[in-house]
Amino acid sequence: MNVTLAIKRFNPETDSEPRIQNYTVEVQPTDRILDALINITQNQDGTLGYRRSCAHGVCGSDAMRINGKEKLACKTLFQDLVDQNPETGNAAAAPATIEIEPLRHMAVQKDLMVDQGPFFAKFRAVKPYFVPAAATPERGEYIQSPEERELFDEATKCINCAACYSACPILDKNPDFIGPQAIVNAARFIFDSRDAGLEPRLDVLDTKDGVWPCESHFECTRVCPRDIKITKLINFTKREIKKYRAARGEETAEQK
């Protein structure tokens, strides 16, 4: 079937503002959006810019807005977007148009490529690495029960694709909010029985731009391609901070 990709393009070297360019490509219903983008750059127009690598949803390179929603281009098939004749499996008569735009809340570098620098800086700020609670075992592993392991399983799945960061409505009004992904990656350690947990990360999380700006809009959870229940993790983290402060008779940054 033929589809039209309406791609929002912008090259700061030559354009004063973004423009929409239409490309027509022949695709199978089971093709990925990424297949069509590759087809365009390799056979039609080598100037189109986007990032990609693994092509099956594990590296986090190709999050973009597809028909207004954050998705991985390699994990979205045309049949998920295009109405088909249920009997023949063919696209409905008129060629479908699919709108493709770069992620939000990050500056566009070129076309679908955005500057992830600030996004990663917020990630690094939460100390997204193991801070052991106890001395390293002399030989062998830290012991951790399957139940303890399960507590933080979801947070380990993050591929840093920034889909949540783009979808978050809080970042519209407060660009300094550390954002869903940074909190997910803090939660990854906070709820790990082997890690020192909350304390080393409080100075970032329990601040006015830390966890508190989140208003539970659930947009992040809706778009996460790894099905991480992000909003739930943020709320668990808030609860952990409240518990910690209450136990010490202190106020959280939210209460201050």
């Binding site: 070297e13 030559t14 080598g46 690598s53 949803g57 592993e141 399957p146 392991r149």
Partner: protein
Amino acid sequence: MILVQEFDAIIVGAGGAGLYAALEASTTARTAVVSKLYPQRSHTGAAQGGIGAALGNVEEDSPEWHAFDTVKGGDYLVDQQAARILAEDAVRAVYDLENRGLPFSRLPDGKIAQRRFGGHTHHFGEGPVHRSCYAADRTGHMILQTLYQQCVKNDVQFFDEYQVVDLLLEGTTVRGVVLFELKTGELHVFRAKAVLFATGGTGRMFKITSNAISNTGDGPAILARAGIPMEDMEFYQFHPTGILGMGILITEGVRGEGGILKNSKGEHFMETYAPTMLDLAPRDMVSRAIMTEVLAGRGIRGDRKIDDYVWLDASHLGRDVVEQKIPDIADFCRTYLGVDPAEKPMPVQPTAHYAMGGIPTDVDGRVDTGKVVYEGLYAAGEAACVSVHGANRLGTNSLVDLIVYGRRAGRHIAEYVKNASSPAAGEADADRAREQLQRLRNRKGGRHVGPIMERMQEVMMEKVGVYREQKEMEAAAADVRKLREEFQEVAVQDHGAGFNSEVLQIMELENLLDLSLITAESAANRTESRGAHSRKDFPERDDETWLRHTMATLKGDQVVIDYKPVDVSIWEPKPRTY
């Protein structure tokens, strides 16, 4: 503006091998990690099934059995002392990763969980053993994330989205590298006493592959063009279970958990091919078994074409096992096939997966051709050939290789740079790369990369695939030569400076073409069947003539072949049955 910078050590590549080497080297040496991808996007993150180590958490196991399995799995083309180091050090490596926070799945007693994997046995082949340490089916993701987190913690210096395009040598001593910066389109010269190449796999030579689009063999190709021979390139692994038509991997862990392969008649055909190990025989054997079934008309379509397929059935394992042990596989199947593996079998076919061959190194990662050791030049990970995988790698042994040999290379570099003198390198060293770029940019009209890339991938898949024969491999080499000529007519359409990924893709295609030629020629030259190199016209292994490594040097459009002995100092080669 050209930037000339100086370091003690440069690590090219930020996958498992590069990151581990960087952690070691950066403790004392001024180290830069350069990577064409953001480190967390590296393909190590795609590894699924596990990392092998004889921890013995589930049942009795020993590093000696692991080493033996590695040697036998590699059809005795493995350098045996290197395999011994791999298996012995694997245990420490896995504990080290865990101690750095890696979230392995756990056993009820709180220890690291282990599962069965192809070719891994107890008591030198008596039966399968639980050796693969795993984190569900995202072990590689956890390794990559943990190592990157450790680099953040230790303030390792990264240059993200810098693609190395040339190597600087003075005779056989390294001087540095030339890099293309994606953001600005500038070429830079980084000078260093030591350079490690850890650029990962080459799977994009083939049409159906489990490898990332960026797995284009840049390191091996750049070194090959610098006149360094590549070792054992004919040994390319086809993993038996890729998702039909797409090549996306379905881990052997599915069979480790009890999944079985079936043909169109519903027969559990591995019973015929490997009576003891069944579906957990090594990959080369399982891929051949699938192809044999397909060619006999027992594939699911039954048309005997090489792209026919078989079923991988996990539906009898129950929903709990599927959701707990292979959640990502279940997700891939639902997304790309509309199939729920807890209910229905998965359509699978062999997929190009892993390069056993690559840049020849010694056990400290130094580039060593058997005749010359290059001073200050190192390689590790899939780009390197130590050789611990011989003619066929066992599952879970690549991740071990990254950690064990990445670490050894990093340590050696840290020592080496203490006494090495600073090399000379300056702006003029970027000239060769700049001229190449200019030629690309000045060409008017010109070809798109697409058709050349597609043709190369088809030729390699059809003619240098699971089963091979002389005529076909020679035809493949001839086709690739023609494509290399056509490549000279490729032109850049994007004349912008910043974020010009087109230029980089064109250079990646050149790398793949060079490696395809070396692979096809190395394969045509080896007139025996061993491990993943399986010939219809020479079906037997021939130790008399061929118990030796291929060393293939690229000279223009010719490939000159020489050899290097195999270390067989522990186990005598035997026929390989499972």
